[in-house]
């Protein structure tokens, strides 16, 4: 299946190649296959597929990856603006998925 695409050139994802140890954890955990590892270094090969979940950055032992993690949810953005962000999540996304 063709990859579904969202808005271009907005992802906050950054990789400092100098720090990268080439362990490949980022490529393993990324749900959208943004990274590839070759010659002992990771590279961002599909930045626009990044959904900013933060898994790569959290699992990078070399702290070479930074991303501003967040949930791409308009309802959550409204809630944050209207100051209801702290209440438990009761929107559709979180309780029907397996």
């Amino acid at each position: 299946m063709r990859k579904q695409r969202y808005i271009r050139n907005v992802a906050t994802l950054k990789l400092e190649v100098d720090k990268c140890s080439g362990c490949g954890m980022c490529a393993t955990v990324c749900p959208h296959r943004v990274f590839e590892v070759a010659d002992g270094k990771a590279a961002i090969v599909d930045r626009d597929a990044c959904m900013e979940c933060g898994a790569c950055s959290l699992n990078c032992p070399a702290e070479a990856i930074t991303v501003k993690p967040g949930v791409g949810c308009a309802v959550a953005v409204f809630r944050a603006i209207f100051g209801r962000g702290k209440g438990g999540c009761d929107c559709n996304c979180c309780n029907t998925n397996e």
Binding site: M1, V10, P31, V71, G72, T96
Partner: protein, 331 residues
């Protein structure tokens, strides 16, 4: 229960399990669809059997145990307050701290002889594998995204193919989320429909109950059609609709539906028809924009960017549409 007590879990889902799964998809009792956090045995596991980590949301737990039929293994259910793995990982409840704590509480190191945990890949949003190793001695192996690939993953010597590592958003994935969408916005939708129903009695001579029945029912139905366009048709046709932003996709679907309704002469006179074009497109766009949270590929940066354009446009279109509709009441 105290952490050491190990419960058995079946890999067969009962009729009650399946009914429960159906109900939560319709938003019934979602918030308390949980199981006790802790360690569960599947089959007859020994010290060498693999350990699968999951959330204490019953739908997650059931999906996992169903896929483990015929295997001997352990399920370690983390306390995620009844939220699924991915969303809980995003909130941090399915995370390093809870995982390390649950390993200690269940004394997992005495139950199994190996030091390996199979964590669903999407759990990586909250779990830092190297931290878990440092703090508990257990190494995390990230399993496939979907539980149904677990057997293939085990057979391949605990390696996942690219296919298994990628999140998808299939037609089924999208449609299964639409009923809950209905229930979530249900109240607001009924209020908007009621408002149009009642206001449609207004005319230059005062108030007419005949108009409520004719124009009112038609107007309420059009509002409902707008919602269908944005919350059911747009998600279903997601990859086919133009543009990348969800609000634009919803806007297009709404416009098409509005044109179909207009051609079917269900939108009243000329002024009112133009009003409905604006209103239905705006409502559909808004409903589809709210589907970003249910999707599996939208980023927060992207959602914010689309909202800065879409929300003012939706508001303006809704105001113009309502204005024209009201005008048509008195002309």
């Amino acid at each position: 229960m105290d952490g050491r007590e190990i419960q058995r879990a079946s890999s067969q889902l009962s009729r009650a399990d399946r009914l429960g799964g159906f109900k939560v998809r319709w938003a019934m009792g979602r918030m308390k669809y949980t199981i006790e956090p802790g360690l569960y045995a599947i089959g007859n596991p020994g010290g060498e059997a693999p350990v699968f980590v999951t959330a204490n949301y019953k739908l997650s737990f059931d999906t996992l145990r169903k896929e483990l039929g015929g295997l001997d293994g352990w399920i370690l259910a983390l306390d995620t307050k009844g939220i699924n793995v991915w969303c809980a990982a995003g909130k941090g409840t399915f995370g390093t701290d809870e995982l390390v704590r649950r390993i200690e509480l269940t004394e997992l190191n005495k139950v199994v002889s190996h030091r390996k945990l199979i964590v669903p890949q999407l759990g990586a949003v909250g779990v830092a594998a190297h931290e878990v190793k440092k703090r508990s001695g257990f190494s995390v192996v990230y399993g496939p995204v979907r539980a149904k690939d677990i057997k293939a993953f085990l057979e391949a010597g605990m390696t996942a193919s690219e296919q298994m590592r990628q999140v998808r958003f299939s037609l089924y994935d999208r449609l299964v989320l639409t009923p809950v969408e209905f229930v979530m916005v249900g109240k607001k939708l009924v209020l908007i429909m009621a408002a149009f129903f009642i206001l449609s009695g207004l005319n230059s001579k005062g108030y007419s109950t005949d108009l409520v029945l004719s124009v009112g029912s038609r107007s309420a139905a059009n509002v409902f059609a707008a919602f269908l366009a944005g919350a059911v048709i747009s998600p279903a046709l997601l990859p086919l609709l133009p543009g990348r932003s969800f609000s634009f996709k919803g806007f297009c679907a709404g416009l098409v539906i509005a044109i179909v309704l207009a051609l079917s002469q269900l939108t009243g006179g000329r002024i009112e028809t133009v009003g409905w074009l604006f209103l239905i497109a705006a409502l559909s766009s808004f409903a589809m924009m709210n589907f970003t949270g249910a999707s599996t590929y939208t980023s927060l940066s992207g959602v914010k960017k689309e909202m800065t354009i879409a929300v003012p446009v939706q508001l303006t279109a809704a105001i113009i549409g309502t204005g024209l509709w009201l005008t048509s009441r008195f002309s």
